[in-house]
């Protein structure tokens, strides 16, 4: 086999390898300049995106404080001041997470953020909210106190009333705790990562185009001779 043939065989074997294919597909789907852009369109200068980033910051604090609580066990916060502190950090970062996420969600709903092929961006964001609700609920059920008992029995009745009580036993502490510290956080973090990557891939949704008929009517009322052609985004 000549050197050229040998090089060709080596190249084709590299092209066939799954690592090369995954790398090429990844770079094609999300090139570095899209993954980490150094500028954004002017309409991204909006408070609504601050609340999206605040959601991410809150989620980071939730995960970190939750990891510390998981290390020490669910009863730790009952008998030590440090445990109580981290439990409070965990609770209030969850409160902030939901607050910021809901404001971001409202804003994106009224911006119709699913426009321009961004359906998956919208759906991953909305489903993150829906999955975060049972993630928080299982946390309240894991408090190991009377509050947790009350919430679990009320939620048990809710689950039974919608016919899924056979799958989720809210009074089973072990099941709820593993849902809270592993399964549901994995789902939330996975959805958030997918959401951010999809935002990077598709870009932030531009504002609505001005309604040309309404603008024409306004211009005629004002006596203006003609309208300039819309050039894209405004804010």
């Amino acid at each position: 086999m000549s050197a050229v043939e040998k090089a060709s065989v080596e190249k084709s074997s590299v092209e066939r390898s799954w690592t090369a294919r995954v790398r090429e597909a990844g770079v094609a789907a999300l090139p570095p300049e899209k993954l980490l852009p150094d500028s954004q369109p002017t309409y991204v200068a909006s408070w609504i995106y601050v609340f999206g980033v605040a959601s991410l910051a809150s989620l980071t604090v939730i995960i970190l404080s939750g990891m510390i609580l998981a290390l020490k066990g669910p009863a730790w916060w009952h008998y030590t001041g440090v445990g109580h502190f981290f439990n409070s950090v965990h609770l209030w970062s969850v409160e902030l997470f939901f607050f910021a996420m809901v404001v971001h969600l409202w804003g994106k709903y009224w911006m119709a953020a699913w426009r321009g092929g961004r359906a998956r961006v919208w759906m991953t964001g909305a489903v993150t909210f829906l999955v975060a609700v049972p993630c928080a609920l299982t946390g309240y059920v894991s408090q190991q106190n009377f509050d947790a008992q009350w919430i679990s029995t009320q939620a048990k009745d809710a689950m039974n009333s919608v016919g899924v009580g056979a799958f989720f036993n809210l009074t089973n502490f072990g099941q709820m705790y593993s849902y809270h510290v592993l399964l549901l956080p994995l789902a939330v973090v996975g959805l958030v990562v997918a959401h951010v990557l999809l935002v990077r891939r598709h870009g932030v949704v531009p504002p609505f185009e001005p309604d040309r008929r309404a603008l024409t009517a306004l211009a005629e009322e004002d006596g203006a001779p003609d309208l300039p052609t819309p050039t894209g985004v405004g804010s």
């Binding site: 002017t42 200068a45 909006s46 408070w47 609504i48 001041g81 809901v102 404001v103 804003g107 804010s235």
Partner: protein, 64 residues
């Protein structure tokens, strides 16, 4: 929490009573939840209405 800290916080937030509830037809919400929902609406309105710092400069062709 230390006893002194607990006493101070207890003086600010008295939680030693049944929750206050807003009840209207089928709507049954704790006052704490109503306050949070109201705050979210206010913050949302402000987020829409308030100009973002530097946005006007960017639109007029300044640095991004």
């Amino acid at each position: 929490m230390q006893p002194t800290g607990a006493a101070v916080m207890g003086a600010v937030f008295n939680l030693d009573h049944p929750a206050h509830v807003v009840h209207w037809h089928f709507i049954d919400l704790s006052v704490a939840n109503v306050v949070v929902i109201g705050l979210m609406l206010v913050v949302f309105a402000l987020a829409i209405a308030l100009p973002f710092p530097g946005a006007a400069r960017r639109r007029s062709g300044g640095a991004t």
